[in-house]
């Protein structure tokens, strides 16, 4: 494997998934109400479902990038960048913000989903930064054989 490089073909599926998620998010007002309406009748609940799906599809676009790069790390036999990204996005960003929302903005589920999306974006940026550093690629040449399951 070339340092810091992955095959462009490996990027086509996650890129397509990101486009699909964005397309679903852009059209969510068309398909979410009928789907949610099949389970509940309350209009406000359906509106909440629409907001949730809308925000989460955007968050999932970030997660697709993160998980794709996590797969690259795993393939190289290096998993500490995955843990680092998880600790930073969840431990530093998401969990404290969820606590703040819970304490100071109770009863607003939309804020919870926005926090999740924000953490996903931060996690993606951290993972991208770690990937671009390239240290994981050179490290695995010497260390990969010493790792055990």
């Amino acid at each position: 494997m070339q340092q810091g490089c992955i095959r462009t073909g490996a990027l086509k599926l996650p890129a397509a998934l990101c486009v699909a998620a964005m397309a679903l998010a852009a059209t969510s007002s068309l398909w979410v109400p009928p789907v949610a309406g099949a389970f509940v009748n309350d209009a406000e609940t359906i509106a909440n479902a629409l907001t949730y799906v809308h925000i989460m599809l955007v968050a999932n676009s970030f997660l697709i990038v993160t998980y794709t790069l996590n797969g690259v790390f795993e393939g190289a036999g290096i998993t500490w960048p995955i843990l680092l990204g998880g600790l930073a996005s969840y431990g530093v960003v998401e969990f404290p913000l969820l606590f703040i929302v819970y304490i100071w903005f109770p009863g607003q589920p939309d804020l919870l989903w926005l926090v999740v999306a924000l953490a996903a974006a931060v996690g993606m940026l951290i993972t991208l930064a770690l990937f671009r550093l390239g240290a994981w690629s050179t490290a695995q040449k010497d260390d990969a054989l010493h790792y055990t399951l």
Partner: protein, 43 residues
């Protein structure tokens, strides 16, 4: 030890699920729709 970071990340993911579920269920406005789905209504 390649699996240790992955195991910790999975634990973090699970912790996220527990936190989110408990926050939503702690809202007094949380209701059940009778189908096992915890629907949230602001009514």
């Amino acid at each position: 030890m390649i699996g240790l970071p992955i195991g910790l990340v999975v634990a973090i993911y699970s912790l996220e699920n527990v936190i989110l579920a408990n926050i939503v269920l702690d809202y007094s406005i949380a209701v059940s729709d009778g189908f096992g789905i915890g629907a949230v209504s602001l009514v």
